[in-house]
Symmetry: C2
């Protein structure tokens, strides 16, 4: 099985692309070294979400990278992906853990220490914390300070990632905070060359964050 | 466990009501004798869908009527409802059957004999066939003729229900077709008195359709 490593966590956004171009970009990101992929679909029907999940899963399996499905445990179970990511308006983590099984990866979004502790206690494997910067991929964004991110990292024993408007030029702000990795959408998805973008972001994380 | 009987199948629409009024109407329909209830939510978050499913489930359990969740197997599994209903753009029936288990009720929408046979072969317990009449509760409606409904009823050994704009005054059109029951939304949901509407529809089905 693909090993879980949230260091460079690529979250997709298919809304701007034809399917072939979308898949080409996801594969380029995998070639560029992303360590975890999340498929995030908000507008598609369940059937369409499942069909796209199956196609993306073929790619991630080829590169031995786990695939996480956003929100929809039914799609994750139907496609037998390695994990699911749950926001505060999605299924509770403990219910998803019971249905999905002990070996699957379950991630949760946390914006406060309380949410982080609850997700951890309910069985989450990792946290996404943000948005650190405003983002164009979510209509409603509530910003999370780097101070809160730091508090959350220290409050729970599971890996926590920073998310929200992050790219190779602004990740300095995360320096010294014990994050496990960085989640990005646009910095890779919308790059002229997603492979190069992933490589440069990875190099910047090592240089600036020693990650 | 509540017994499966699709005779008077009430599909909810919560969009026009405050939660208390919605639940009051669902309970009135149960008092009026509906034999099956489907919770159908298209706009809510997963968490909201689950919370509402849990509340409706308390009511249906009280009246010993199975609760079916539209589309979302994750919500159905999380709320442990008796069933799930799958349209052509939802999960395939065979995948849902594998995940949900052999004892759960799985329904499918069919507009053609091919779709009906596929759903049956994949493990569906019943079919919803329509829309017989135009309906106001779905934006996109493709009409199904009563001739097609009749063909489907004869093509598969599982119960098939008529759906779409049906009410006590127009169900005559179904006379002679071996349907198992009738699905309604508005005829009960929007009635001044949902209990009375369910009772009158039930009586009309007996009088006009010998059902």
């Amino acid at each position: 099985m693909a090993e879980f490593n949230p260091r460079l966590y690529f979250i997709t956004d298919s809304t701007k692309y034809e399917k072939d171009e979308f898949l080409r970009r996801v594969e380029a990101a995998l070639k560029g070294g992303v360590t975890l992929v999340q498929l995030r679909e908000k507008e598609r029907s369940t059937r369409e979400y499942l069909e796209l999940a199956n196609e993306v899963h073929k790619l991630t399996l080829k590169y031995n990278v786990p695939l996480i499905i956003d929100d929809r445990l039914d799609v994750a179970m139907a496609a037998d992906t390695e994990g699911v990511h749950l926001g505060q308006s999605d299924l509770p983590v403990n219910i998803a853990r019971r249905l999905f099984g002990p070996d699957k990866i379950i991630g949760a979004t946390a914006k406060t220490v309380e949410q982080a502790l609850e997700a951890y206690e309910q069985g989450a494997d990792y946290l996404g914390v943000g948005a650190i910067y405003p983002t164009t991929t979510k209509v409603k964004t509530i910003l999370t300070s780097t101070e809160m991110l730091d508090k959350i990292c220290h409050a729970v024993p599971i890996p926590a990632n920073a998310i929200g408007g992050l790219n190779k030029d602004n990740i300095d702000v995360l320096k010294g905070i014990p994050i496990a990795g960085v989640c990005v959408v646009s910095a890779i998805m919308k790059a002229d060359d997603p492979k190069q973008a992933a490589e440069e972001l990875s190099a910047a994380m090592q240089d600036k964050l020693e990650l």
